[in-house]
Symmetry: C2
Subunit: 113 residues, 2 copies
DNA sequence: AATAATTATCGTAAATTTGCGATGAACTAT
DNA sequence: ATAGTTCATCGCAAATTTACGATAATTATT
């Protein structure tokens, strides 16, 4: 960060997209989401069985995904069921789709370059 | 990272997707890519004019985007023209599309939960 | 009440990211 | 040759991320 904490303001859509991207910016979180995608839901314990990291670490990654809004947890004592947050998942999908749409993206070797 | 550097091996596709996501995980890099998308190409100098960061910082972000493979630079002395790398852009687009495809994604409130 | 099971949080250490100014490298133009 | 332009890199400082073990918190079962 900067020398002194000083907030720089960015485009809101860019900020939101970056936030989602950041949540996806670690392979273990991709794997976690794939699990949740395929299994409709699962418990932290199940994830710990499958993934090569300590329970506390998985829990931290889950927290980040939750903070980004991509997943949500329901208590099901003494377990907690994590699921994809459909609403935000759809929002992220749309943002990435828009971003990658190459509609009017000119090629680099166009004349005016 | 871990106490001692010890590599954990992840699914390759997850790793690649995470790498692209990491490149997108900062609003300024989103903005940079948007510029490159819309303008077909541009020079670092142009970006510095538009973005609220120092030239050296922009240069670093460009480097990260280049490392991720999302952009490429051509020398055009004394300037350097940055453009989206079409091939990897398409690859990223496909990876994100696949990832977000909710084909057989069951809802959280299905019976078996 | 005591125990077991499951998940979150704390404390710590290492690594990485972010940002800046200063400086360097490469090339142009004078 | 000198000066100017453009971009990259270095060195630094602050912030954040990543990972772990230990411990706390919550709830069920005995």
């Amino acid at each position: 960060m900067k020398r002194t904490k000083e907030n720089i303001v960015y485009n809101e859509e860019a900020e939101q997209l970056a936030k989602f991207a950041k949540a996806l910016a670690h392979p273990i979180r991709i794997e976690i989401l794939k699990q949740l995608e395929s299994q409709s839901c699962c418990f932290t314990g199940d994830l710990v069985d499958v993934l090569p990291l300590a329970q506390s670490t998985i829990s931290q990654h889950l927290k980040e995904l939750k903070n980004a809004g991509l997943i949500q947890g329901e208590v099901n004592p003494p377990k907690i069921k994590y699921c994809v947050n459909q609403e935000n998942w759809a929002k992220a999908k749309k943002l990435f789709n828009n971003f990658f749409s190459t509609e009017n993206m000119p090629s680099c070797n166009d004349g005016e370059c």
